[in-house]
Symmetry: D2
Subunit: 383 residues, 4 copies
């Protein structure tokens, strides 16, 4: 393809696998203006990165991200490193004239996020694009809900209820790096609330204007060390907060790793004047949809299997009705939308750029202020 | 029966019907130390009250609650009047030497509630009992969850999530008395959050120690008047707040009348170290139960039909397995527990008395302080 | 009420309780042209029947059904005796000029059923009415489905899938009378398939024209005797069969007492050209409804809470939206429809009379012929 | 990898895509003794096949299956052609010394299936392996149910209920090749009942010994032709039958394309003495599991998310808990099991070979005899 997009990917862990699979698969499933070329992967450990690259079909493997990012043969840098290593490579890549696709959250700190937003703003003039991998936007059920809501399906929105519940962080779980604030930035908050904030902003089309009452808690302060003994967890196990949206809706948010019984329950309900939607990622192929304009006798929560080609976004690229998709397809579909965007076409649903992800980051920051100062925090305070 | 309990009931609307049915049915279904005698009903409108009394089998009908309460033939006064008419009759009845069963919430104001608590405390010395009709405690699924949790089924509790979602209060709903603060005291808050606070205290066995971030909102400020024109709604449409429990758990609460798609979704999830439960009143015969002590491969949300005589509280009084109960059975079962208590037996699960309902009232009050002052409120402040 | 209907009820076990509750409650909840008067109850054991009658408010108690049925003060005889004692009292009652309401199935044998049908036909001339207590027709969700289908909601019907699954009949269950063909007539077949056949005929409005492939099985042939030792079960544990309907639909039926995990799963799905419905009695307040005329993107199984007064049949007599009904309300609502019919009004949905229940009985009989002769059986054969 | 397995794939439509994706992905996700090499794809249309091959990464593209199958560089032939083109290539491939993986059902006719079984039997002596792509066996939920049942989780099995419901075949669907018996062999029966028969045999470990009462129906006999006018459908729209299993269980089967509201509801319930399972492919990541050995108060249908690495088969190759899989992963996992088998390792759960798929084919044939002769058919008759 003469429109090849040559990709350098930084990171080779969980997200590295998900992205590799996406770049490998995207042109098989989608008809796109550009082809993905898996140019290079960059990781800390030379042997491991090399093995990873070979397995997944990356043409080369490096350990030095500065070199990876500066390579003139690279068109797009895909950043899947830990949150504290987002800003450096992303800004360097933009300065080197590359498009950048960065994992969420945008950054580990508000300062980093601001710098990234500014760099992206500057690079725009050179035609460079930025993208953030908020993968859940591209679930067909979420993308379809977005369309329904944009088409007026809910009318005025009253309520937003967003919870991201996991349970892998119980007292028996040892002190892995995710419980170290130095490496991880935050706990459930940055990892999971980031998704909820992005999704609710995306679905409602409204910004959050106030955060209040945030509760930040570390239930398990002392955890076993792999080598024996115990150490201190320095991140939150959960963060809850309440919010007000620009259009008048009120919302509740909760992210936790100790909600026993919930594996990956990323769930959202939105109630409006004309209808309502519910989504639960543990049943990701389904959208629950309530149409309040039907005759009242017939109204109900309708379980829409979002698997119809033509009807539901992205599905035509994959399988027939009722043949559900899985977690990884959000990444394949986002890769398709990134290639479409780079090639000058429209993505199926909007991809957050750094400016958009910055707004999500501000809400994350406001929640922490609210938790620590015990008060309501207008978003205007956070800049 | 020589252990007859002669009842005077104040009120003859929605709750009057539910209580009448309970008193009529209770001795048919349950074997009890006392029999309920439907002595008198008291309402404002003479004709309507008289017709109501005849229909439901009350021996007499009155319009003057002072007389009803003072009648020497009455053993127990059942208060189903509006919230602002709880304290007067309840205290008078106690002073007249009657047991009192009062509809929830205990009162419309903290001052009323305090006075009722104090009167109940005094009357205790005379062997008088007080009861508050938090009917949902007596759902078999809730009562069974209570037992499971008391038996250690959850271990240390991390999370409480409580929502009471209705949708009858949309913009088209006219300005009925429930939207007038003068008559109703509050909107969704006193009506629905009262249930949630009682249920979470009952289930966890823990008191709430702090409320934060409360959001109080009236979405529909102007409503149609039945006779034409519009008028102002002076109550909340929804109140949300976050909470901390004495044992370290964090909780979220939400009561609303504008959650489109939800008719009576009184739903609670509690996650603990050893297990978790979920309940939704729209499927009141089911308890979702997660046992985290099973082998991990087999763990799941188990839909327990709480309809087994012997296994699940109250059920042996009614029908065979799988033959579900309805809303009204909570009242019949509470009537049974009240008669048991008056007769010196143990209720199946504890009934809140005025002292217990006072604790619930304090949390309601704390949430309003939090909403109006934009800050976290320790319960110690509310006395 | 000068339109009192004086009732003699035969039987005082499970169904005796359900009917007593219905007659006690019906005029409280419903506005009707007639009032139910609980005149007399008749049982085998004098002491037990007398205690039962006192508890439930029957004016007198007898042990001789001939006397009960002949009493000139009685207007309606309610037959809740075992299946082999249906024909005798029902026919005698009709001959004595009483209306008759009989528990399902119509009879234990086809001969009995035919005689009852003929007696009812004769008595019609005298203005006497017959009713069969197929209580599930009066679930609001089923009655609403009936209306939807009659209104054309499904169009041409392709598929009927009906299962009535219980699990109380495992190998540990002792040899109670229900496992004795002499007393019980049949096992799961007469008890449970009778409901399914009535419901599918009621919902589709079509008769069954052929039964095929029936499988009749007794998994547990030897059961423990209460007094020690074991005895033979002489009834079916399950009967399955396939069917063809007059309008061209094909159907499957299954009744069993050994479907581990199912307490009272009376479940039906019907798929038509324009829509589909699903019902499960374990969630009796819900109808799943699929509208195939909606835009395809929005089609889904809609969980309709059938609890709206005005919208859903019977509900206006009871509680507000989302305040679900239970098993017993089917009986209360049928009692209302019986009183309405006797009083000259229309029932909310049709009540099967003996002629209608005879059609159901023929299908039961055809299934047994199919099972024993290993062949397809046209209904024309059964007369 | 020096253990490369060079694959020639015949067919390039729906299954061609699913298999290509599987061969492309398998060595990325799984650690295996062999690597898949995508050697050649063979289709009817030269241009289309060539484009397909390029897109999916096949090294060459052919239109002549005899050449493809005879190529000495090929180790395994993957047959995804229409059912009437299974026997020819599969037998030729075996004779040419290749392993064969064939799409289901084994063949369009019993004669073809028998010849394939015999050829496979002969080739076994040469170390050649045969595999049939009954992909649903490799859903983690199904594979886990298999393990549970093999481990005694159900005890003696009483009931099997299997339905494969789709709804794409309504009256508006035009006369595509799938409605032509010449090309398609059968309608829903061979396509969908084949899956159900394989799954129930796999899960129960029991053979079907009798089929009865089968109903075969073509609801829509006349369909629109793409070019205008109408033509006759010559296949079944649905086939239902009842069955007996060797261990004493009774079962019901239904396959249809006109079950409005069901997109791909491949659903199975099995009830045994010690427990029960339910599965629905529309929620493929979940197994409903009932443990009848728990204390009765705690028994319920447990929704097990089969997404735990270590606990649930295949999952360790993919994503973390709660990050569900999709339809295509059944193929990737089967490709892994095929490569494992060819490389001398054990598959995670057994793969049906031609001898095993022949047993499934006999049941399909018995059902048709039952339908056409209106009688019960012992499997002994079908050889």
């Amino acid at each position: 393809m003469n429109n090849d997009v040559r990709i350098a990917m930084l990171g080779s862990k969980f997200m590295g696998r998900a992205h590799s699979n996406a770049w490998m698969s995207v042109n098989k499933f989608f008809d796109l203006p550009c082809g993905a070329v898996m140019h290079s992967v960059c990781g800390r450990d030379e042997m491991a990165t090399s093995a990873f690259g070979e397995r997944w079909g990356w043409a080369s493997a490096l350990t030095d991200w500065e070199r990876a990012v500066a390579d003139p043969d690279v068109d797009l840098v895909d950043v899947c490193t830990p949150n504290d290593v987002h800003a450096g490579p992303a800004i360097a890549a933009l300065e080197a004239g590359k498009h950048v696709a960065c994992e969420k959250p945008l950054a580990g700190t508000l300062d980093d996020a601001r710098a990234m937003r500014d760099a992206a703003e500057l690079a725009k003039a050179d035609g460079l694009r930025t993208f953030v991998w908020f993968n859940y936007r591209r679930c067909p059920a979420i993308a379809y809900a977005h369309r329904l809501i944009r088409g007026g399906g809910l009318g005025r929105i009253f309520h937003v209820r967003a919870q991201y519940l996991q349970d892998w962080g119980g007292p028996e779980t040892p002190l892995v790096w995710r419980f170290d604030a130095g490496q991880a930035g935050s706990g459930a908050h940055g990892d999971l609330n980031a998704h909820l904030i992005d999704l609710t902003r995306f679905l409602t089309g409204e910004e959050i204007t106030q955060v209040s009452g945030a509760v930040e808690e570390t239930f398990v302060t002392e955890r076993k060390l792999p080598g024996g003994g115990t150490g201190k967890s320095t991140v939150d196990d959960c963060v809850l907060f309440l919010a007000r949206f620009a259009g008048g809706a009120v919302g509740s948010f909760e992210a936790t790793r100790l909600a026993t019984g919930n594996k990956n329950r990323n769930t959202i309900e939105i109630n409006g004047e004309r209808g309502a939607i519910r989504f639960d990622f543990e049943r990701m192929n389904e959208l629950l949809w309530w149409d309040d304009t039907l005759p009242s006798a017939q109204r109900g929560w309708s379980r829409v299997m979002c698997t119809n080609a033509g009807d539901h976004p992205y599905v035509e690229a994959y399988w027939p009705p009722g043949h559900g998709l899985g977690y990884e397809h959000g990444f394949v579909s986002q890769a398709a939308d990134i290639l479409a965007s780079v090639g000058g076409a429209e993505p199926v649903v909007p991809i957050p750029d750094f400016a958009d992800a910055w707004e999500t980051q501000r809400v994350l920051a406001a929640a922490i202020v609210s938790a620590r100062e015990g008060r309501a925090v207008p978003l205007d305070e956070i800049g």
